[in-house]
Assembly symmetry: C2
DNA sequence: TCTCAATGAGAGCAGTGCTCTTGCACTGAA
DNA sequence: TTCAGTGCAAGAGCACTGCTCTCATTGAGA
């Protein structure tokens, strides 16, 4: 009894110690990531240097490889964080907008995504600019990467549920072949109400939204567009209409 | 007389030699650029190395600095080339489409730009991905960079001249403040017929077009969209309608 | 007490962009 | 013909990079 008890207590202590070690390890990894993010924001992904990160943290560069097996892995971690941050911004904007006016929610989400991008240009470039490492995004990034798209999808779905989403007048089979299998399965889930036929329009709007943001962040609008707030506002409404969102008060559609 | 004649002949010879030297110099520079372009297409801008270019050309790396003062200058030259190439593709498509059907010309230009991007992903990433050198595009790039936009503008102008361009129902003053001074001057030139009020819509469509292309080239459509041809085709028509282009045969607009 | 895994330190390798000096070849003029 | 000037390539070298290897320390488990 006592032996059993002490053994159990022992394993608890082991677990605590194990947990402490893991926590320390996680904290060091977080510190590395934090410093790397600082350098990324300051200088851009191209100038992010493992040795500089280690130097700033008072470690030697080789010690850093105990936590991230390569520079690309560190970059991947930053990519995941950036996707999560921009996704979080989109989700917060949708939550704040409420469910009463889908068109307003759409515009608010777009604005929030744009605002995040303008505040974090280098991190934005990391995820929506040229893909730096290799060319194949690691599997860890696909989940976080889809958060913004899922918010846009949720807004469209809310509009559909409220009866203010105009469905495209295309045959359903025509749309089904456009989207990939994964997305078809996603839309076929029982709790989803959004008709699959709007998926292509939504995907196009999604891409076009980031086209507007990228041109602004990457400087293509320099000496071309002055009032970028106004342009973005108008374009976002046009995008919503393209998806089928009608202004609130327009009632049900044909 | 003879002295004068021989002196003149002498200067001619000098000019010839001078020209030959300059031609040799230009040829070496072109060879460097060519090899750099090969490496860029094969490996991407991040892996483009001056030393590797020099090695491949059988020169020593320091000799290369006689022709391009820095790696960024070589990259800038490649950027200008890429802008020229994609602009050329757009111009050719417009020329081939003719002036009869503006909507078709619009779609053809968009398709040509997309095709070029998919054929030259690394060069596309260089010009429409994250800006690599510094963050400020050198002045040499602004001209070539605007070629695609000018083609889209010309298509819209042709549509206007043919009476199939729906003008936005916004006050002109509202649009004037959106676009930058340079563009206002461009549109105010006497030989331009396009109303300045469509400029914001055109700029938005321009950015959104490259959003669609970037998502495809950079892999954001992986596992999301299968039939990208179809999606792009539909989106481009929607973009044209957003600008105000009506299908041929729709006649003059309100 | 001994063992072993985790960690960090340091040296070192191959590669990078870039600078500087040196020497060669060729030019125009004395 | 000789000589100063010029453009060019070669090579050494600097400071930096990502990454690998070995070695010493440390601390927990048997």
């Amino acid at each position: 009894m006592l032996g059993q008890c002490s053994r159990r207590w022992h394993t608890v202590v082991m677990d605590v110690i194990q947990g402490a070690k893991e926590r320390v390890r996680a904290e060091v990894a977080a510190a590395i990531k934090g410093e790397a993010r600082r350098q990324l924001a300051a200088e851009g992904a191209a100038r992010l240097s493992l040795r500089a990160v280690a130097r700033e943290l008072g470690m030697v560069s080789s010690a850093l490889y105990r936590y991230f097996p390569s520079r690309d892995d560190l970059l991947t971690a930053l990519i995941v964080d950036a996707y999560d941050a921009i996704g979080q911004a989109a989700e917060s904007a949708r939550a704040a907008a409420g469910a009463t006016d889908p068109l307003r929610a759409w515009a608010d989400v777009c604005r929030a995504v744009r605002a995040w991008a303008l505040e974090h240009p280098h991190e934005y470039a990391l995820i929506y600019g040229s893909p730096v490492p290799g060319y194949a995004a690691p599997q860890d990034t696909v989940g976080p990467a889809s958060r913004v798209a899922l918010v846009l999808l949720a807004v469209a779905e809310a509009a559909h549920d409220a009866g203010v989403l105009a469905e495209p007048d295309l045959p359903a089979a025509d749309c089904d072949s456009v989207v990939a299998e994964d997305i078809r399965q996603l839309l076929d889930q029982p709790d989803r109400t959004l008709p699959g036929r709007v998926a292509p329009r939504l995907a196009a709007a999604w891409a076009q939204l980031f086209g507007l943001i990228s041109f602004e962040v990457f400087g293509q609008f320099n000496r071309v567009i002055d009032d970028r707030d106004a342009l973005f506002g108008k374009a976002v409404v046009a995008l919503a209409q393209q998806v089928g969102l009608r202004p609130a008060g327009a009632g049900a559609q044909a």
